[in-house]
Symmetry: C2
Subunit: 394 residues, 2 copies
């Protein structure tokens, strides 16, 4: 009785749920501390204490009809201004509140950007490996997904294939750096090359190609490396941001979309994005949380924990014989599975009480994803299991 | 450069924005207190003080990783259980947490219900006059909207036309009682008649027709009248609820969807709704607000204010010669315009500093909507303007 589009999705979702259920059964059998669950990208560290204080302050200092009421679908003007000014300070950009639309997380932002610009049948390019939800977001607007196969050398972009696959029907390209599932961060050279390809193709086809940057992991980078700010390299760029990871607030659904004034047909696009926010049922980003993030902008949880976990795991796994591109950010790594069949490999890992996600879930078989947003002790305790797993397949 | 679907919407939205801008200009010219703005359905009364206390209590008593973290896409189990038990107590239903999905307001709930069950090209019936956003929600899933013309006698349902227009392609029917824009509340007899038509048509076509009840105004009823609980009359009913109006929290985007166990293919529908919540970009209803509403369930703002405003306006306007079906709930009324052209009428009302919305916006020309969620003094001050407006068209 459910729609055809949803039938397949529900089946797939049940498979993931079955995996969680199995994890729970394993935890009951062996004890929770003896099961090493690297399956979920759920922040493992508390929000900074300033978040709680900011909530109290908003409620004590601001009128409640204002705090809990409707505002423009794009969000509170003053919150948007605060976000714009912070971004300008960080990245040397020149945004005002007009360039910011507050969204229900990055997922809300990506959906309204796609709704605003994609017509049914138009193509949206994604770079494998990629976050599987992009399939659904593109399907929501009846777009046609075009997948660029992985650059398994360093998990950047397979530029030659990208150049071949961009067509007159290409309307948008979604990129995600720092990347889920690989932890890769595109270099400035990568971004320049990408921008020049897009410029060239726009000229060739007389089209507009929107770059949609999904950036919930922007702050989660290691060794102090810089993540280039994309609007500075390519004007038709949407940046989708979320506070889910930087402030450990994934349940609150708070993020924003940046739309540079230089974007083609800027006024119409901003209008379309705001209307899309309304008609897709979001209406506006949650109001209290908008007011809170304006007070804590620029703060983060103690994200150094993720880098520590990465260092332990990367060192150990490469010692044990795993082949892995070292992550430059996020809380994911994406090693090669020790046999070509990544699903069989992840199934075998369960014998060692390791819960890993097959790379084929992300359009990149022969690998597996580990989400190391878990506590350090779990990471340390898991190492003998990884060693035993490696020995099994030697 | 924006998608074709969005182009018309942005134009339409600009027209509404122009109306607000004009209101602002009028306020600047005549003084805010001399402009009577009945255009917006934004609650005018503060949330109960228990809401603020509940936010403090949640933050002080519950672990922050839990309060701000991801939970199941359907919402926290304990919150869903609380909602189910409250509903059972109020309406003699028999729900458990399995029957409740927490949503991003009622707008989020309606969108995921439609996404779950409607295939492209299938028909969704709406009853004029109706909330204009339904057009967009139906368009989001590529459904075909079928409008039943108004019963202007009492703003119930034009049952004969409904019977004629339900076809083999009818997949869903959206109803909204208490109703925006009329303030009508369907009686138990109305609901029984509706249910029997739907049952008959399901049998005739061998189909399943879902009833989607949009109920953000359930508590806003006058004279203590009862609003029938629809799942008790027709099993294939979704109830979409929002706390926006009852608790004056429209900006927080918090509501829920009720899916009775008796619904055809219940497990698949619940699964589809949860997955739709995820893939449409909502992911889950805002987490802190879920936890808050569990603590204040059953409370409301001081909604008696709306009944007082209704009484003043209904008495005065009928005295002045307006023809109006007396509202039984909400904070709207929907009188006949004094000339057939409702747009010209609302334009003329501006001379008297009255901001009214043409009925044609709701699929019912020859009427206008007044949102009397304004303070009582504004209502009282507006009366001479209504009197003068009536005299102009006598």
């Amino acid at each position: 009785m459910i729609s055809d589009k949803m039938s397949g999705l529900v089946k797939n979702s049940s498979a993931i749920r079955a995996m969680f259920e199995e994890g729970k059964i394993m935890a009951a059998k062996y004890g929770k501390e003896n099961v090493y669950d690297f399956s979920l990208g759920n922040p493992s560290i508390v929000p900074p204490k300033e978040v709680k204080q900011a909530i109290f302050d908003v409620l004590n200092e601001e009128p409640e009809m204002f705090v809990h009421g409707y505002m423009s679908n794009a969000g509170y003007d003053d919150v948007r201004k605060t976000v714009a000014e912070y971004t300008n300070k960080q990245h040397g950009t020149n945004f005002s509140e007009k360039n910011i639309v507050m969204t229900v997380g990055a997922a809300g932002g990506l959906n309204i950007a796609l709704k605003a610009v994609v017509n049914p049948g138009e193509e949206v390019v994604v770079i494998a490996p990629y976050f599987g939800e992009y399939d659904n977001y593109i399907s929501n607007v009846d777009g046609v997904e075009v997948v660029i196969s992985p650059d398994t050398e360093r998990f950047s972009i397979n530029f030659d294939e990208l150049e071949q696959k961009i067509s007159a029907k290409t309307r948008a390209l979604i990129i995600n750096s720092p990347n889920n599932p690989t932890g890769a961060v595109y270099t400035e050279d990568d971004i320049k090359r990408l921008a020049s390809i897009l410029e060239k193709k726009q000229k060739e086809f007389g089209s507009v190609i929107f770059l949609i940057a999904d950036e919930p992991y922007r702050e989660l980078v290691f060794d102090g490396i810089k993540v280039p700010y994309l609007t500075k390299y390519y004007k038709n760029t949407f940046v989708g941001y979320s506070f889910s990871k930087s402030l450990s607030l994934p349940g609150e659904r708070i993020g924003y979309l940046v739309i540079p004034s230089e974007m083609e047909d800027f006024d119409a696009v901003v209008g379309a994005v705001s209307v899309a926010n309304r008609i897709m049922g979001f209406v506006n980003a949650p109001s209290l949380m908008q007011r809170v993030i304006a007070r804590v902008i620029g703060m983060t949880s103690d994200i150094s924990v993720y880098e520590e976990n990465k260092n332990i795991l990367y060192k150990a796994l490469t010692e044990y014989g795993f082949d892995c591109v070292e992550p430059k950010g996020t809380f994911y790594m994406f090693p090669k599975s020790l046999i070509p069949d990544d699903k069989a490999f992840c199934a075998a890992a369960k014998e060692f009480r390791l819960i890993l996600v097959p790379g084929s879930t992300f359009g990149c078989p022969g690998h597996f994803r580990m989400a190391y947003c878990v506590d350090k002790q779990t990471v340390l305790n898991s190492l003998p299991s990884f060693k035993a797993l490696a020995e099994k397949f030697k």
